[in-house]
Subunit: 414 residues, 2 copies
DNA sequence: ACTATTTTTTTCGAGCCTCGAAATAAAAGG
DNA sequence: CCTTTTATTTCGAGGCTCGAAAAAAATAGT
């Protein structure tokens, strides 16, 4: 409530951020374009851009790239200077680590995926592997671009609100792993860690702002069920943990056994292991299996499509659970567009009728709950993109908006 | 994402708001106190306060009120000028309209409650009654204070996100009633309409900031079940409606009949009519009765306390439903302190064990869901207070923070 | 009574920032 | 080579906050 006080310098910082955001959205903009996009006066834009160029944050490009030849002084295009900084991107999911290096302009400098048995690995093991991968990439690409200035990490699990500690993850035994501080110490840069679904949401918002520019939910259906929420233009998170644990809302009291240890969670009906369990006619208290081969799962879906039976019913049960959860979610936050991401999106056709059915009961006030649902089967590219955006926006906001003082001194271009 | 641009004037506006907020929190402050409370420099505070005093927003009081006699130039106390404006406060609940007039310092100028059969009334009827009550109060207190400048209205029902239209209310048949625009037209002032639970939350936050200064939920257990949420220092609302419909989360698929027309809502197990239904051994599809006498309900609770039986079981069922809802809520937003408000708070002892029980299943990441729960049996004073705060803060922010231009011209002090 | 001390508040100049208007730069057209 | 057009920079005005110094207004002490 108190709020921070405002000083004249804050005005400049705020407007610098505005300029950088506009350029990042469009990729490249002239000063005139920035004037129109931000509403700032031409003189102010001129001053701000001059500062950013002299600090090396932006690059001027005089060659009009393909625009129609017009009379008058040609516009000078401004774009992020790729070599001013790099950011590290890490995605930790079941038995798989992906590390990438992205330059300040968003270009991928390096990209590597390693298979690692996460279930049996300790936090230290994973930390060492991630550190080694990132260090290798930094070395192999040294000299041709700026120094590492930020790391964003996506994990399949519950993180604390500060984005430092992985509190619990279905993909491994150990708990309370401080990946954030560890990475920060190892590489001397700020680290943002978040649930992979939060990164998903960030990426979707970025790639399809016309659809996901407002409120929406990204639901990841893979090994477990997660959700990333954007509300009022802000990523939603709990006060202590990353929260938004859609998959662990209670569907059935004393119901099926969930991997989180409780019973009756939505995930215990709609997670891949749950569908597997039901499709094989196992009791719903059977312990969740740890990993399901994609091809095997695809065959299961195929059988469910071709003939009625226990397999098809398993998908229906999953659909009902998801629909139930969406229904409750929508009771709390109003219906929003939904993005279904990951392997589960490939079998959406098998679940959609039950999902829609669960949502069909209209409230007295008539707001129909039927939302727009879109499917995105490939989650990994989106997660990485979300991490990259998170890091780059953090750089825009924290580092380069601060002005002359620190940044230009810290940055050493090659 | 785009965000508004910032100009030097915005700095002054922001800091004026800061000063006003500090004074409203403490009631009366000297310039030195403001300096410490806001972090602004003494010179800036001096300039801002001079403006506010010359506009008549603040009043200087030279008589040191009881403070220990100290050396040095005595502090001049600044407080809101009660006569600079008044705000109207309206609470519409089942068969009851309360209207009050509050001055800019928060003092109650007039207060009146009328019994009106809301179920059979039309929106126009209610609007006419509210208008008449408010107009009467304005006339009877004319001359001794400022003109009406804002109205806040709390309703037991679902409103749109803009705070203009009552979309649906359990207390009446008609839907989509535009109380907001109607009041605004009738009195020529901005109107903020919201769910009564949102106002509740506002009041609690105000009266006990040490407990409710952060995230918390206020749950109103009366004729229906509502919730007001504060998250990250912001009142939570949906994108289209007021949302946060805790009472209409789905507890049991195809379960008990709810007053909203659907089945299995939490309210259909924990609303007063649901408890009544269960305590009398009626089927849970029996139509909800429209109103329950407080004394009768109290006798019911007394019997449940003294002897086991169907009455006690009815309260247990209610507790389970509420606990179930809290469990799901906490899956989405992390556990937060809970304020139980209204008649239902009087029977909390009968429900608490089942509520706690439903919350006892810990997640894998160990965050225990047991929240701090406090009871506030009297909802009406809190709702009115919340309305008053809403209006006064709106005045602070919108009108007086704008500076010289408009406000001083519009205000006519008696 | 009068001066010294203490505390609060105001005044003043420096340093930011944004903006509009005017000036300058850099192209195509004729 | 001059005119027109469009983009960008320069310049002065007007705000705002801040620190330092000055002024105000009381008590304490002699």
């Amino acid at each position: 409530m108190a709020g921070a006080i405002t000083r004249p310098d804050d005005v400049r910082r705020q407007n610098r951020k505005l300029v950088l955001a506009a350029i990042r959205r469009k990729g490249a903009l002239s000063r005139t374009d920035i004037t129109m996009a931000t509403g700032l006066s031409a003189s102010t834009v001129s001053a701000i851009v001059a500062g950013l160029v002299s600090e090396g944050v932006l690059l001027e490009s005089r060659d009009g790239d393909g625009g129609p030849i017009r009379r008058g002084r040609p516009q000078v295009t401004l774009m992020p200077n790729p070599d001013i900084a790099r950011v590290g991107v890490v995605n930790l999911s079941l038995n798989r680590i992906t590390v990438a290096l992205v330059d300040y302009a968003g270009g991928i400098v390096a990209d590597e995926t390693a298979d690692v048995p996460t279930r049996s690995a300790s936090g230290g093991d994973l930390m060492a592997e991630i550190g080694a991968m990132l260090r290798r990439q930094l070395q192999s690409t040294a000299g041709n671009s700026g120094r590492l200035m930020h790391i964003a990490m996506a994990v399949q699990g519950v993180t604390d609100a500060a984005g430092e500690t992985l509190l619990w993850a279905p993909i491994m035994e150990e708990r309370n792993i401080g990946f954030g501080p560890a990475l920060a110490r190892a590489f001397g840069v700020p680290v943002a860690m978040a649930n992979d679904c939060a990164m998903l949401a960030e990426a979707l918002r970025w790639t399809a702002p016309e659809r996901y520019g407002g409120d929406f939910a990204a639901i990841l259906l893979s090994y477990g069920i997660g959700m990333g929420l954007y509300l009022k233009g802000q990523p939603f998170s709990g006060s202590r943990s990353s929260a938004a644990e859609f998959g662990h809302m209670a569907h059935m009291p004393h119901g099926a056994l969930c991997r989180c240890g409780r019973r009756g969670c939505i995930e215990a009906y709609a997670g891949d292991y749950a569908i597997w369990r039901n499709a094989l006619g196992m009791p719903d208290t059977a312990p969740p299996i740890s990993s399901i081969d994609a091809a095997v799962f695809a065959r299961l879906a195929e059988r469910a499509r071709t003939e009625p039976g226990v397999e098809r019913e398993a998908f229906h049960i999953a659909g009902r659970a998801i629909g139930f959860g969406l229904n409750n979610l929508f009771s709390l936050i109003d219906p929003v567009p939904i993005a279904l991401v990951g392997p589960g999106a490939k079998v959406f056709d098998l679940m959609e009728p039950e999902i829609r059915n669960a949502l069909s009961g209209a409230f007295g006030w008539g707001s129909n709950h039927q939302p727009e649902i879109r499917c995105y089967p490939q989650e990994h590219p989106l997660i990485l993109q979300g991490c990259a955006m998170t890091s780059l926006l953090a750089l825009d906001a924290e580092m380069f908006s601060a002005g002359e003082g620190r940044s230009s001194a810290q940055i050493s271009a090659a």
